[in-house]
């Protein structure tokens, strides 16, 4: 009875349009699923048995990507309850921790997976260096990887301001203070004032939209954190994964 019903469902046009092949429990379907699924085709169909060994990659790259997915998921949840307004932001976060169902957990998860991602991306880079995996033909993928590390740090840093508490305000004040020391385009940097840089037209002013960290800075960091940087890092990840599939893996993979 159930068998017949299952067969009826599998034969419908709707099912057939969704799945191009049967359940992947034989060689043919195990190959087809890797070809026909846009997400799965990041993988090859087959890999060497030795590639399954944990101690070569230690899952560091994969877990970095997983952290990004988890951060996207929890981040979207947080966005429903957050307004980037200096009068509201802090209270939104307070509400999240006390009044919103699962709000505290989502915030904690977002925070700790962000810290984990920073650490994992670093560790992944260390592993790739130690196993010499950046050598030809994968040189450019290493360059993309360095960019992804930079984006990861910037994402974490821009998110640091959003709770709008003392920790956030002053950490970002310290950080952006550095920007005014940029040579040529910061007013406190070498050759800055000679080139006409003032406190209200230099690179720091551009970054925080004012002379102190305030409403404009919060809005800028919010947009960078939730839109601009995620788009950039996603583009970088797409290239990173594409290139490693096309250039081939190093070593036992």
């Amino acid at each position: 009875m159930i068998e017949r019903f299952a067969k009826f469902v599998r034969d419908t046009q709707v099912w057939q349009s969704l799945f191009r092949h049967g359940y992947p429990d034989n060689d043919r379907n195990q190959s087809l699923i890797m070809f026909s699924s846009v997400l799965l085709h990041l993988h090859p169909v087959k890999i060497k048995r030795s590639a399954l060994r944990f101690r070569y990659t230690m899952c560091l790259g994969g877990m970095s990507a997983f952290m990004f997915l988890l951060l996207t998921f929890t981040g979207i949840f947080l966005m429903f309850y957050y307004v980037p307004d200096t009068r509201q932001a802090y209270h939104n976060i307070k509400d999240l921790t006390s009044n919103v169902f699962m709000g505290g957990l989502m915030r904690d998860l977002h925070k700790w997976s962000a810290e984990a991602m920073v650490f994992l991306v670093w560790a992944h880079m260390f592993r790739v260096f130690m196993t010499g995996s950046y050598k030809a033909p994968r040189e450019f993928n290493w360059v993309i990887g360095v960019l992804l590390l930079t984006f990861t740090l910037l994402l974490s840093w821009t998110g640091y301001l959003l709770p709008w508490d003392q920790l956030a305000l002053w950490a970002i004040t310290v950080g952006t203070k550095m920007a005014e020391a940029t040579p040529f385009i910061g007013y406190a940097g070498p050759w800055g004032q000679q080139l006409g840089m003032r406190v209200d037209n230099d690179i720091r002013f551009l970054l925080i939209g004012g002379t102190v960290v305030g409403q404009n800075a919060l809005l800028r960091f919010y947009v960078l954190h939730c839109v601009a940087l995620p788009v950039l890092i996603t583009a970088g990840m797409v290239v990173h994964f594409w290139r490693i599939r096309k250039d081939g893996f190093s070593g036992p993979l």
């Binding site: 060689d27 043919r28 195990q30 190959s31 993988h43 090859p44 087959k46 890999i47 060497k48 048995r49 399954l52 944990f54 899952c59 994969g62 877990m63 997983f66 952290m67 988890l70 200096t86 307070k94 505290g104 998860l109 977002h110 700790w112 984990a116 880079m125 260096f129 130690m130 196993t131 010499g132 995996s133 950046y134 050598k135 994968r138 360059v143 360095v146 740090l153 840093w157 709008w164 508490d165 003392q166 920790l167 956030a168 305000l169 002053w170 950490a171 004040t173 950080g175 203070k177 550095m178 005014e180 020391a181 940029t182 040579p183 910061g186 940097g189 070498p190 102190v212 070593g251 036992p252």
Partner: protein
């Protein structure tokens, strides 16, 4: 019955014939123009590992969330300045460098050079050995250089996180972190002032500091070529210059820390535009 035996039964070997059925292999698909290989299907073997790793990691994170909550202090206020002001932990290494360098170097130029230097690695490493496995012996120079930089980054972070308290002074874990430390007794001097104190004419002392700094970079450019000739020739001009100018910068922080702590030197070069 073994597979070999089955094969023999189906197609007995005939010594007079130049062809024979070699082996039957279990499987459900065709193997056309394939070498014998030790591979497995990604579905399910690798996907299971990925799923398990993700679940284990998620479980670990959820476990952390049960006892450690994301910090939230008082609402941001421009009226109260915390002491010390600390950047997020992953940037505390750079903030710690502010003790030794001016902000344009510690906050802007050195981080940018770290990024550029990291990107340059695959293009200056011409050693073809050690790809795809954990190798020490075949890549000593590359690995020591990388670890030298990596350790610097982490040491400065650890100092910034665990040993810097009020007024960014050095605090041991057992110190009273609520009590201000008295300013250090040693007074810092610039290199040209020290040289002037030794009896050199002020202008000559200035010039000497310029020469010393230029000499530092020139030494990194010249000495390796003399010490490791064949290695330098293999590298070629462009790679050689890139490697050793980055190496000079990699040594900049340790040298500066050494001169500061050992000889109380604040800047070793003072120009009208910047100080180093």
């Amino acid at each position: 019955m073994s597979e070999r035996h089955t094969t023999e039964n189906i197609y007995p070997r005939n010594q007079k014939k130049s062809y024979a059925l070699m082996e039957l292999v279990k499987g459900q698909g065709f193997q056309v123009r394939k070498q014998p290989e030790d591979t497995v299907f990604v579905w399910p073997h690798l996907l299971y590992i990925e799923l398990i790793a993700a679940l284990v990691f998620l479980a670990g994170l959820l476990w952390v969330c049960t006892f450690k909550h994301a910090p939230l202090e008082d609402m941001a206020s421009a009226d109260t300045t915390p002491n010390p002001m600390k950047a997020p932990w992953y940037f505390l290494g750079l903030q710690e460098l502010l003790v030794f360098f001016d902000p344009w170097l510690a906050g802007v130029v050195l981080p940018s050079l770290i990024i550029v230097g990291l990107m340059a690695i695959p293009y200056v490493d011409i050693n073809p050995k050690g790809v795809g496995y954990w190798a020490w012996k075949e890549r000593k120079f590359a690995i020591w250089t990388f670890i030298f930089g990596f350790i610097q980054w982490w040491i400065f972070i650890i100092i910034g996180v665990f040993f810097r308290g009020l007024d960014w002074a050095w605090y041991w874990p057992w110190d009273d972190w609520h009590k201000h430390k008295s300013a250090s007794g040693a007074s810092l001097n610039d290199m040209n002032v020290i040289l002037h104190g030794w009896g050199l004419d002020a202008v000559a002392a200035d010039w000497l500091t310029y020469l010393l700094v230029i000499g530092y970079f020139v030494a990194f450019m010249v000495l390796p070529a003399l010490l490791w000739r064949s290695f330098s020739r293999q590298l070629g001009m462009a790679r050689y210059v890139t490697v050793w100018s980055l190496m000079a910068l990699l040594w900049l922080s340790p040298v500066k820390v050494f001169l500061r702590l050992g000889f109380n030197i604040k800047y070793f070069l003072v120009t009208p535009w910047f100080k180093l």
